[in-house]
Amino acid sequence: MVDVCIIGSGAGGSPIAYELANAGFSVVVLEKGKDYTESDFNKDEIAVCRRDMFTPPLWEQKHIIKEYNDDGTFTRYDGEESGWNFWNGSMVGGSSNLMSGYFHRMKPNDFRLKSVYGEIKGANVVDWPLNYEELEPYYAKVEQVVGVSGKVVKHKFQEPRSTANFPYPPLQTNGATKWYDKACETLGYDVMPTPRAILSENALHRKGCFYSNFCGSYGCASGAKGSGRAALLQKCQAKIITDVFVYKLESDDKRVTQAYYYTTDGIRDSIRAKIFVLSAQAIESSRLLLNSKNRYFPNGLANSSGELGKNLIFSAGGSGRGRFVFEKLTKTQQKELMQVGVFFNRSLQDWYEFTQDAKKYKGGTIDFLFEHQNIIPRAMQEVYDSDGNLLWGEALAKNIYKRITTSRVLTFEVFNDWLPTDRCFVSVDEKVKDKYGVPVGVINLYGHPQDLKVGEYLAKKAVKLLEELGCEEIESSISSSPPPNLVAGGCRFGTDAKTSVLDKNCKAHDLENLYVADASFMPTGGSVPYTWTIYANSFRVADVIKERLQTFI
């Protein structure tokens, strides 16, 4: 029997493997995907982005999606038939390998949304059982261990920090950021360099960024990106078993006893451990627990509260874009604009909280970045004319050439709270099974109207900035469409075992030795990407488990 068995090796599982293995405990990590090293990663757009090589084909493994309609019904989508894909990265280190690494901390008020902003009709907003001050040392630890680069600047909503600055200087940026900074000054916006989980220089036995121009969606060949694999798993002796799918956790009335898994050959095996940590990403963690129901837990493992799978959240908001065109730029500016490889790295948090119609709202974050450099979708964007008719031949060639060689698109992404509701949750399908014969997860989707209202408010601020920058073809889209890579909830933590699945330490209320350490624990998500908070919380949970292993077992 090993000390700790971790299911899933992403941002939730990897800090725990790192901490406990380095403390001398025997740790086994079960990972559905394959293992890679820096030398395996390349910038093959066809393989990585067109064929999704790091996620399972949907005809082998999929989800059922049920979207809530205003009349109270749900529209059902089969993931395979619709192509609606909620997989993010089945590989050692999980989707942290493929992230862009936009790293923002949650802010003190994010931990007490209900107390600060009050009840919201139709939403299940609660305060966290943890406050910012308790998590801050772990945010700081992530900066050091995983590596965060950037520059702390004073602004209205800058969260308190135990250190003055990030440990690594900002990454190099494109010359167009000067225009951005000037536009912000004109509009009275605070310029904020975006912190990134990317090393700007050689450190931590990893290489600094190569500025390959292809970061998000791709594995990092330099090791600069702070994936759970590069930053943590490659630096500990945890045993990682790859290509195995955990389909059931067995328990008695108090403890998880075994994790059962399939190999890719369909062979069944199991492992026993003193402590089990589940970190398979929010939807799959809830699915596994629901599929692990037994006579002690007939509604799903650790589900005496009935809250398992409930209050699934995503990052609300949306995105927008504007195009810089050569006609409006000097020769020098044109050259600056087309400089590739370096980053844009600018964010706005001026409206992390705002007042509208005398009411105080929780707002969010806006990140600015250049359009992804993948060339195939940029060419394919031009195959329709302005009336929506297909173009081909000479007209298409002219459009592609002009757009790609004489203009560049600046995009923005809005992150605001996806309010937890009764209508957004994970369940399992009674009939549809994956290639292993295991019931697939059902993602029940609903976006609260306030999510859209806040998103629109923020998008307008971003659009104003694009206008000030002189961009053309400015547009934005705020919707309830869930970003599959920004998902949390389903096993919310809390102090009351009747209304939450996990306790403050992310241990299941119902079981003595089961922890859930991905984003499932989050009752609300803040208005930032989740990864930094997942990492920080897992380092915190690792400390709890370490103490338990040292003293009780």
Partner: protein, 163 residues
């Protein structure tokens, strides 16, 4: 060596296999997906040939990529069949044997249908993959597609094509 030969045989199989073309209820003739796709892609983007890029052979890879669904592959083959049948219906001759002008008219007709729009969109997607994807896939000859757009492909480059 035997394995390689078998693979080559399979590759040749799907794209070179006969597609039976119907004129209403009667059999009109036979074509192969690769013949039609080669002409179609040239009709959609003749600039590729001008750059020294041949895109159609990349379709052999598409038909053997593990992450392309069976239904997507069947749709390509059906699209080839329906495109030719539209030509037969209009001109009593297969698409591959029509003049350039008449082929363009057929494309304009099918682009207004749902299946035709989807088919042409998919074919152009694969065509741009060949033309602008990594040269390891065989289409982007000497990085000609990238050079045309002053595009710097990502580094490191893949050492082998993804199948």
């Amino acid at each position: 060596m035997e394995k390689f030969s078998r693979r080559k045989f399979l590759l040749a199989g799907f794209l070179s296999s006969a597609v039976f073309l119907m004129d209403g209820c009667s059999l009109f003739g036979v074509t192969t997906p690769i013949d039609t796709i080669a002409i179609l892609q040239h009709d959609l983007f003749p600039q590729a040939s001008e750059l020294g890029i041949v895109t159609a052979p990349y379709m052999h890879i598409i038909f053997h990529q593990s992450h392309i669904s069976k239904s997507d592959k069947v749709f390509i083959k059906n699209g080839v069949k329906w495109l030719n049948e539209e030509a037969i219906k209009t001109y009593k001759i297969t698409y591959t044997k029509l003049s350039f002008e008449k082929r363009q008219k057929i494309l304009q007709t099918i682009a207004k249908t749902q299946w035709g729009e989807n088919f042409l969109y998919d074919i152009m997607g694969y065509m741009f993959e060949a033309m602008l994807g990594d040269p390891i896939y065989g289409g982007n000859n000497n990085e000609a597609g990238w050079k045309w757009l002053a595009f710097h492909g990502g580094r490191p480059r893949p050492k082998e094509a993804f199948l």
